[in-house]
């Protein structure tokens, strides 16, 4: 289990991680989500004991990772798949890592097989593709057969088959009863993989939520409406707490009213509805709106010529 309590990291006057508190439970895959620059990697570096928190604590199994006798056997991690010397072979890279924690060299061959690099393990890692590099990073995380696995953006650079592979791998690890903590800035990558989400924005906790709760949130507040006398209907629906915006010339979206209420108003006034579609948002959408205020680097809005 990973526990983070009131964790804060400031770089000068900039607060990268702001009073974060959450726990990552064993037995499930937990997604750590946040937009670019929201503090995911910084949080992970503090869990690893690499960056000192300005305030608060981060522990693994109740103790700081650096206090564990053999850190790699408690927590396996992937921070940056590129953190490998390009002229060193994958095998030597892993062997050097393994001996620090007294892990036998036989385990190196084992993890190379697990991640599918058995054939190329003796080759210099500089020639590896992005996906192979990612697999090498995951091999390193598995070396110590750890109770906790923490991966920073492991899906980066993987093709669909690779993504599927890592999803099954992480789910198998979780099924073993291990704690699996995986970051991403894309909900679409994580929604099939994780059962629980820790969502942050600008270093602050936004949601600590199960995937089921998140799906409930995804049931939208909006209903898309089309009708033969749309303008009349809009006039009739207007009330306090009801928000109506037009999607296009023939469609409006209404929030603050149930679809049933909208239908009743239309019926009572003899207006024929041609469409009444309650919005079901994607989890990505929910994530985007949750973090909308916290997105640090907005792209310039797309400009579309008005005609």
């Amino acid at each position: 289990m990973i526990e983070v309590a009131n964790l804060t990291k400031r770089y000068g006057s900039f607060t990268a991680v702001d009073d974060l508190t959450f726990a990552v439970q064993p037995g499930i895959v937990t997604g750590f989500l946040g937009p670019n620059g929201s503090g995911k990697s910084t949080t992970m570096r503090m869990i690893l004991g690499l960056d000192a928190p300005t305030a608060g604590t981060a522990t693994v199994g109740g103790r700081a990772l650096s206090r564990h006798d053999r850190p790699l056997t408690s927590l396996g991690f992937l921070l940056d798949a590129g953190a490998v010397h390009p002229t060193r072979s994958a095998f030597d890279h892993l062997r050097a890592l393994a001996v620090t924690n007294g892990i036998p060299t036989s385990r190196v061959d084992e993890v190379l097989e697990i991640v599918g690099l058995g054939e190329v393990g003796r080759r210099r890692s500089g020639g590896f593709s992005l996906g192979m590099g990612q697999r090498l990073g995951i091999a390193a995380a598995l070396l110590g057969d750890p109770e906790v696995v923490m991966l920073d953006e492991p899906v980066n650079g993987l093709d669909p088959e690779g993504i599927l592979w890592i999803r099954h791998l992480l789910q198998d690890l979780a099924r073993d009863g291990r704690t699996v903590f995986v970051s991403s800035h894309l909900m679409s990558e994580m929604e099939l993989m994780a059962e629980h989400f820790v969502i942050i924005g600008q270093g602050r906790l936004i949601e600590d939520i199960s995937v089921d709760e998140l799906r409930v949130m995804a049931a939208g507040e909006k209903t898309h409406v089309r009708a033969d006398r749309l303008d009349d209907l809009v006039g009739l629906l207007r009330a306090d707490g009801v928000d109506i915006v037009s999607d296009d010339r023939e469609t409006v979206s209404v929030s603050g009213l149930d679809p049933g209420d909208i239908g009743a108003v239309a019926r009572d006034n003899g207006i024929a509805l041609t469409a009444l579609v309650p919005e079901q948002r994607s989890l990505e959408d929910v994530f985007m709106s949750l973090t909308a205020d916290a997105v640090q680097y907005h792209g310039a809005p797309n400009k579309v010529a008005a005609g």
Partner: protein
């Protein structure tokens, strides 16, 4: 409590990390990458080869008169040692800074826990490698050089030659350790090499531009000058005594490694 605990030692999953674990890891790292392993071996071979060339040239020139008396055959055989020093110093920097540039140092620190152990292990590995290769190279250069050119002086006493060989080898070892310390302090290859050249190899030369009274007072305490005292066969009034040279140079090396340790422990990795 008494009989069961005896067996726990053998399990690979229990017990703390020992320094020996980290040394083995750093040893693997050093020898599994060309930039470090080949550099060290090549520096050794070049020292011998250049020593032979210099000695052969000296023999064929065989200058007569006062110039001949000045040419110490040991000095000639080790004529390329300045170049060796630079390569070895750079090697020390690269061994550490290269790990910062890839980001591997984070993996290392998180896996080992105690960072000072990583510094100690890197120091042990490079000191062992440089001392072994350096001893072979310096001995080889001097032996081959003397076979090729004996000079016009009476044969040099064997013990004196050994003092030069040992002093030179230990100086090379210390320079590698200074490179390691600078690598940890500056965390960049360019910064580390620049600082090494500025303070050890080039800086002292520039200091001679200062008034003589100033340079006389502290020049001899610089690492390079303390090193000269360690390496020279005859005592030089401008340098420290040999034993003082060893002491001052060792203080530099140990001091810089300690500063590196303090910085590394205090900073975010």
């Amino acid at each position: 409590m008494t009989t069961l605990t005896a067996h726990t030692e053998s399990s690979p999953r229990t017990g703390k990390i020992r320094l020996a674990n980290v040394i083995r890891s750093e040893w693997i790292k050093f020898w599994s990458v060309r930039s470090t392993s080949i550099t060290l071996v090549a520096a050794g071979l070049a020292t011998i080869a250049l020593g032979m060339i210099f000695s052969a040239v000296a023999e064929s020139d065989d200058v007569e008169g006062p110039a001949a008396l000045l040419s110490d055959p040991v000095d000639i055989a080790l004529g390329s040692i300045g170049l060796t020093e630079m390569i070895i110093g750079v090697l020390g920097v690269i061994f550490v800074a290269g790990e910062y540039s890839t980001g591997l140092i984070r993996t290392t620190f998180a896996s080992v826990g105690r960072r000072s152990r990583v510094i100690a292990a890197k120091a042990v590995v490079i000191a062992t490698g440089v001392f072994a290769v350096g001893l072979v190279a310096v001995t080889g250069a001097v032996a081959a050089g003397q076979a090729l050119y004996a000079g016009s002086q009476a044969t040099v006493a064997v013990t004196e030659v050994w003092e030069v060989v040992l002093g030179t080898t230990l100086y090379l070892t210390g320079i590698a350790l200074i490179g390691v310390a600078l690598g940890f302090m500056l965390r960049s290859t360019a910064g580390g090499i620049g600082t090494l050249f500025g303070t050890v190899f080039i800086g002292p030369g520039l200091l001679t531009l200062l008034p003589e009274s100033v340079t006389d007072a502290f020049m001899k305490y610089l690492p390079s000058e303390a090193g000269s005292a360690m390496m020279s066969r005859v005592s030089d009034p401008e340098l420290l005594s040999r034993s003082a040279g060893y002491a001052v140079f060792a203080a530099w090396v140990i001091g810089l490694l300690i500063v590196a340790g303090v910085l590394v422990n205090r900073r975010d990795a």
